[in-house]
């Protein structure tokens, strides 16, 4: 069924869109149309997203650039099915969000999406290794876990090795530096081999050198494993390395700006 929807969706990509004109014919993984989202703040309605359209293809790194408070994180949460749009449609790998119930959305989020947050969001009671293992523990029930445990723990070890944190496997988050915590968070996001990585200001809380290390790690994943990513950032330097950069301005997406403009936005923010 998923394949049918996927095929249908490939046919359904709007002709003449800016992305369609630029990006090659790689598979369309994420397709959002007409996304609206508003909050009530102090009794007043605050419109954060005002009809966002967006497409992301497999293996692509898309950077969403915008000023602080412009709704970048909200957009990422909506795209990653953590939050519900007021209006609009999100298709992920051929599956329409609105056709799934909360439990099914949670399952898909666990199995095909990975999240990296600005403030790492590691579970403080767990070691680095256990944090990385957590998505697999959520994926499998007690019976399946017996069979999958070995494979899952091996993968968690390999990922900790990938982010060069094997010696810190038994350390708890409070015993790690900011850069180390973010690398653990990246390893955790990759544990279930997601098709899509959502990164919310992944270097926003790190110093220059550490931020570069994390960026190299993410870009390395894309080059070696063809990892698809959406990165929300106000860091123009980070965005400049993305395959494609879009701007979020007044709740709408503005595509195709050159890097000079990117720098401008970054300076403004």
């Amino acid at each position: 069924m998923q394949d049918d929807m996927q095929d249908g969706m490939q046919d359904g990509v709007p002709e003449g869109g800016a992305a369609a004109a630029v990006v090659d014919n790689r598979k369309l993984l994420l397709h959002a149309t007409g996304l609206h989202k508003s909050y009530k703040v102090g009794g007043e309605k605050l419109e954060v997203l005002r009809g966002v359209d967006m497409q992301v293809r497999e293996g692509e790194i898309l950077a969403i650039l915008g000023k602080s408070g412009c709704g970048k994180s909200t957009l990422l949460h909506v795209l990653g099915w953590l939050d519900k749009p007021d209006q609009g449609r999100i298709m992920f790998d051929g599956v329409d969000r609105s056709t799934l119930n909360a439990q099914e959305r949670a399952r898909l989020r666990n199995q095909v999406m990975g999240f990296v947050f600005q403030f790492y969001h590691l579970l403080p009671e767990l070691t680095a290794f256990e944090n990385v293992l957590m998505p697999s523990m959520i994926q499998y029930g007690p019976m399946a876990w017996r069979q999958e445990k070995k494979h899952a723990t091996e993968r968690a070890r390999a990922l900790l090795d990938l982010v060069s944190l094997t010696p810190r496997a038994k350390h708890r988050p409070r015993q790690l530096s900011g850069g180390e915590r973010q690398r653990v968070a990246i390893a955790r996001a990759l544990q279930n081999e997601p098709r899509f990585l959502f990164c919310d200001e992944p270097t926003g809380n790190l110093d220059g050198k550490t931020a570069e290390d994390v960026r190299d790690l993410l870009w390395g994943l894309n080059e070696e494993q063809n990892q698809t990513m959406v990165i929300v950032t106000h860091d123009a330097k980070l965005a400049s390395h993305a395959h494609r950069v879009v701007h979020l301005e007044r709740g709408r997406i503005v595509e195709g700006k050159d890097l000079d403009l990117v720098e401008e936005v970054a300076l403004d923010s």
Binding site: L82, N110, E125, I138, P142
Partner: protein
């Protein structure tokens, strides 16, 4: 898998959970101890009361002239009623024990006071088969005939069996033959501390009482020329034996004499005023009682020993029910502690809940984490309560003695509770019911915080700092 894993981690990492576990533990332990003691109390009461009462008691309702001879009744019982093993006659006579008292309120003359008792006249050879009296004997002059004493024979006096409790309470053996005080608190108590003697020392003291005298005063009713007259008499009885029926209240007010002696003292026309019957199977007592009423109902009131002590047994059972109801509130309190600590945990772990939701945990998964948390507190609290309750139940007398020696608090005075030691019975079904109930309370207490956690918006939770 992650549900139990995270629940265990939250349990381990938060000290406040220990308070919850402690609350459940205290409730379970207290309930287990109380139920064990009350069950033990009930069982001991039944055994003790029945021990000196026999299974079924027949009390005559007719005059002495219409009363069948005891041997006739005995034969009739064995012949007509199944399951009757033996029967024994008794005659009861209210008497007063005269003793020396320092108090001046109930005095007769010369500082002598009176203590009301029941002189129970028995036929030893029959009584020993029907009740447990023989097994209660601590010291006798002649085991074959506990009422034999050479001094009594020589001076034609009456002998009696007195209880250990009675001897302790009234300081029997305080004075020697020449009237000098040899034991300030009586022979059955320690001369220095005044505490009751135990073990071999107690048996030796009981033996030393044999041959000593106790004085009783009693009334005699006589009918002379159609008029009832009442006169008082007194007698010095020789102690021929000491027994302990382990009932500190009843033992204090009973003494056993030969049935002939009591009939003579009280001028009792009836050959017997009570017939005690022992059955081969007490379980059938109620149906046998009905048969007996059919056969002997015109001349006797037929009761089981439980009928005679119905109010007392009901009171004991009522006390147990009341205590369990009152003490269950401790478990409920434990439930409220769990509710409070888990609510606090949910607030503190709001961000974690958002993270776990972002990683793909559904609402039911998050609900389960906190349900497991409550359940684990309940299980651990119940198990530790079981261990504490079992230890306390096994060492309850040690705890009682410790409290008395260290703080002077007597939590189980024998004159109130009938027994010297605290009786306990370990009843697994009751224990498991207490533990199960506590786990259910813990589970229910965890439900509200768990529901609250599962309804959190993951985005709001992720933003929570």
């Amino acid at each position: 898998m992650y549900r139990l894993f995270l629940a265990l981690r939250y349990l381990r990492s938060r000290l406040v959970n220990l308070i919850s576990i402690g609350g459940v533990m205290a409730g379970v332990a207290v309930l287990i101890v109380v139920v064990s003691i009350m069950d033990g109390f009930q069982a001991r009461v039944k055994r003790t009361v029945r021990g000196s009462l026999s299974h079924i008691i027949l009390t005559p309702t007719v005059g002495a002239d219409k009363l069948p001879a005891f041997t006739v009744l005995e034969q009739g019982l064995k012949r007509d009623i199944g399951a009757v093993e033996a029967a024994a006659p008794q005659v009861h006579l209210p008497v007063f024990h005269e003793y020396r008292s320092r108090k001046r309120t109930v005095v007769a003359m010369d500082g002598m006071a009176l203590h009301q008792m029941l002189a129970i006249g028995i036929d030893w050879q029959r009584e020993r088969v029907v009740t447990e009296l023989e097994s209660y004997l601590l010291a006798v002059f002649d085991p074959k005939d506990p009422f034999f004493h050479p001094t009594a024979v020589e001076f034609e006096k009456t002998t009696c069996l007195v209880s250990r409790t009675f001897a302790e309470n009234f300081g029997l053996g305080t004075r020697g033959a020449d009237g000098e005080v040899v034991h300030p608190y009586g022979a059955m108590r320690d001369d220095v501390t005044g505490e009751p003697l135990r073990g071999d020392a107690m048996r030796a003291a009981a033996t030393s009482l044999i041959g000593q005298e106790v004085r009783i005063v009693y009334g005699v009713q006589k009918s002379e020329g159609g008029e009832r007259r009442f006169s008082t008499n007194s007698k010095n009885l020789i102690i021929s034996g000491v027994y302990d029926a382990h009932d500190a209240v009843e033992d204090n007010t009973r003494m056993y004499l030969g049935i002939g002696a009591v009939r003579e003292m009280g001028d009792v026309a009836h050959e017997y005023l009570q017939a005690n019957v022992r059955l081969s199977d007490y379980e059938q007592a109620d149906s046998i009682k009905k048969t007996m009423i059919g056969v002997f109902g015109d001349k006797f009131v037929v009761e089981t020993w439980e009928d005679q002590k119905a109010n007392f047994l009901r009171a004991v059972n009522q006390e147990k029910v009341l205590l369990v109801i009152v003490l269950s509130f401790i478990v409920l309190l434990g439930g409220f502690i769990i509710l409070a600590t888990l609510t606090l945990t949910v607030v503190e772990k709001t961000r974690d809940i958002g993270i776990v939701a972002a990683l793909g945990a559904g609402r039911s998964g998050i609900l389960s984490i906190f349900l497991w948390n409550g359940l684990l507190i309940g299980i651990l609290g119940s198990l530790s309560g079981l261990a504490l309750g079992a230890w306390f139940t096994a060492n309850v007398d040690g705890v009682k003695d410790f409290l008395k020696s260290a703080f002077g608090i007597d939590i189980f005075p024998p004159n109130i509770y009938h027994f010297r030691s605290i009786p306990t019975v370990w009843d697994w079904p009751s224990v498991l019911m207490i533990m199960g109930g506590s786990v259910i309370v813990a589970f229910v207490a965890g439900l509200l915080p768990a529901l609250r956690a599962s309804r959190l918006d993951p985005i709001a939770a992720l933003r929570y700092e």
